[in-house]
């Protein structure tokens, strides 16, 4: 480790605050969320859409841990059933952003030149529109729905992803092993994906984990605005939207999915931060 790296490590405030805990808490939360999402596909305490008119807006109790909503539906069951839709949206949008960002970022870093310059100019411009507005623009074109929300969020995040990949790969592309690979006549695709990519995956993984949290938030936001998942299907955003109107009758249908969304976001974020720490990457620059 160079002296600069050592001193920046010493200056890192988080090493005092027990930062390894981030990885553990984040990992545990993320695992729990994924578990609930998968479990919700096969089992819920009650049928998520089962209406019980005798127990409408019931407060949390032994029979209904998170209470019931305005139709007497079990809130816990609905959270579990909606988990897969919310979580898969976050993960799928992240995968899409990576699928666009990794090839573009690698290509830009490897070839440089005017095409790369042009790409970075376009990316700068795209980053000058707030990502939720960008996603709304795409939804305006594609229409509302779960799949459309995935595409909108994934595309909206692709520029940022491309920049992260390119930024990481640009140093790697100048290393001796790349020159060596070129000298022994490897194809450019081989060099980009077999030589450069394995050396730059840490920042990509960190970015992906943090973005998964944001995508989950963005997906819930779109659903909340009535532009994502369409009722009667419900994800966490739809649940918050529905519950908001009946909040004076009962608070648990609002607070429970709201807390779940927040915990899931915290989980993905902490996992990303913890990974960053574990992989000994420097803190992201102030403009991120």
């Amino acid at each position: 480790m160079s002296t600069a790296a050592v001193s920046s490590k010493l200056r890192d405030p988080r090493s005092r605050l027990g930062h390894n805990a981030y990885l553990r808490i984040g990992g545990a939360l993320t695992a729990a969320v994924l578990l609930v999402a998968v479990l919700g596909l096969i089992w819920t305490p009650y049928a998520p859409s089962a209406v019980d008119l005798l127990h409408r807006s019931a407060p949390p109790a032994a029979g209904h841990l998170f209470g019931t909503d305005q139709y007497g539906r079990d809130v816990l069951s609905r959270i579990m059933a909606g988990a897969w839709r919310s979580v898969s949206l976050g993960l799928a949008a992240t995968a899409l952003a990576a699928a666009v960002g990794v090839p573009l970022g690698l290509a830009g870093a490897y070839w440089r030149g005017w095409l790369d310059t042009l790409m970075m100019r376009v990316i700068d411009a795209l980053l000058s529109i707030p990502s939720l507005i960008f996603a709304l623009l795409i939804v305006a074109g594609l229409g509302t729905g779960h799949a459309q929300a995935i595409v909108a969020l994934g595309i909206a995040a692709a520029p940022r992803f491309t920049r992260v990949v390119r930024g990481a790969a640009i140093n790697a592309a100048e290393q001796d092993y790349v020159t060596a690979a070129r000298a022994r006549g490897e194809t450019t695709l081989y060099i980009q994906y077999r030589e450069i990519l394995p050396n730059v995956w840490p920042p990509i993984v960190v970015e992906a984990s943090i973005f998964a949290g944001f995508a989950l938030m963005g997906g819930a936001a779109l659903s909340f605005l009535g532009l994502g998942t369409q009722p009667p299907a419900a994800d966490w955003g739809v649940m918050v939207r529905d519950a908001q109107r009946y909040v004076s009758q009962s608070w648990s249908p609002l607070v429970a999915p709201a807390a779940t969304i927040s915990l899931a976001i915290v989980g993905f974020n902490l996992l990303g931060e913890g990974l960053r720490d574990r992989l000994q990457l420097s803190e992201r620059p102030a403009d991120e």
Partner: protein, 317 residues
């Protein structure tokens, strides 16, 4: 600060806007469905659709349509809203001031709260107070706006307290108290969303400054810590905060969309959600273009202030 620096920034801002306009146009045209089907609905006859396409100029080649739209936008003519049957610029004009009010109050409140807290956290780095502020900001980043707002409604507009209205808007001219009551919860939500990030970035900016050579020199020459902080460190630390504030402006505009929708606040954000839900494409385009322009403008302003505070930036850029 050299005019060349500002000019260069202005040029790159305009270039961003040009690319952005292309993107906005592409999103709303290349994707399936157009304004004609949006106006007439799914069951319109092909003849009626064709007639309206000709009237709206949708039968022309895309490049011509784009050129026409852009030329209009430069003159302030953004076309006619498909659902309001009014010029887009007029519809937007009715809403934009309300959103700007929210944004201005939020930015001021967030800066006044977050920057001092961030500085305190940096000075007390590693202590309990710092950990508290950091944890608090972490929560603030992770709890989304559309969760904070209903919770605030639950507490302040809900049954026991019923202090504030849960939605709606009263113009300032009608009743200043009513106006204040109606913007209180929206701005509180937005401020809570913003301070978390601003606080974190101020803290890390200040930590870097406090670890720098010139601060060490100031300390070594025996200046009291107060002076080191106020006269030397703060000025450079604040440049980070200003940059972050400008970048957060984009984030803020995303949050404004959600907050306006929740509180039924008649602003640009609610308008754009309405336009997207009803596929009023001219309105979506106009609103998105305006938001992009405002954001680019905010960044220019931040560059300028940044240059004033730190002349080296302008000299080296």
């Amino acid at each position: 600060m050299s005019p060349a620096f500002l000019l260069r920034r202005l040029f790159s801002g305009l270039l961003s806007l040009a690319i952005l306009s292309l993107l906005i146009f592409a999103c709303t045209h290349v994707l399936p469905g157009d304004a004609a089907t949006a106006i007439l609905g799914e069951n319109a006859t092909p003849e009626a659709l064709q007639a309206i396409r000709v009237r709206l100029g949708l039968d022309r080649p895309l490049t011509l349509q784009y050129a026409g739209w852009l030329a209009g936008a430069l003159r302030g003519d953004l076309g006619v809203s498909a659902t309001f049957n009014q010029p887009v610029a007029e519809v937007i004009g009715l809403h934009v001031a309300n959103s700007m009010t929210l944004a201005a109050i939020t930015l001021a409140a967030a800066a006044l709260i977050a920057i001092p807290l961030g500085v305190i956290a940096a000075v007390r780095r590693g202590k309990a107070l710092d950990a508290t502020i950091l944890t608090g900001s972490y929560l603030g980043i992770s709890v989304p706006d559309f969760v904070i707002a209903p919770l605030l409604i639950l507490v302040f507009a809900g049954p026991p307290l019923q202090l504030l209205p849960s939605s709606g808007y009263v113009p300032l001219g009608e009743s200043s108290l009513g106006w204040l009551a109606h913007i209180a919860l929206p701005t509180a939500t937005l401020t809570l969303v913003l301070i978390a990030h601003l606080m974190r970035q101020t803290r890390s900016g200040m930590i870097d400054v406090l670890a720098s050579e010139y601060v060490r020199t100031a300390r070594l020459k025996g200046l009291p810590e107060r002076m080191v902080l106020l006269r030397h460190a703060l000025r450079n630390g604040l440049t980070t905060s200003i940059t972050v504030l400008a970048l957060d402006f984009g984030y803020l505009m995303g949050s404004i969309v959600i907050v306006e929708e929740i509180f039924a606040y008649p602003g640009l954000g609610r308008l754009i959600v309405y336009a997207v839900a009803n596929r009023d494409l001219p309105l979506v385009q106009g609103a998105a273009l305006l938001i992009g322009a405002v954001y680019v403008g905010a960044n220019l302003l931040a560059d300028w202030v940044h240059g004033l505070l730190n002349p080296r930036v302008a000299a080296h850029a």
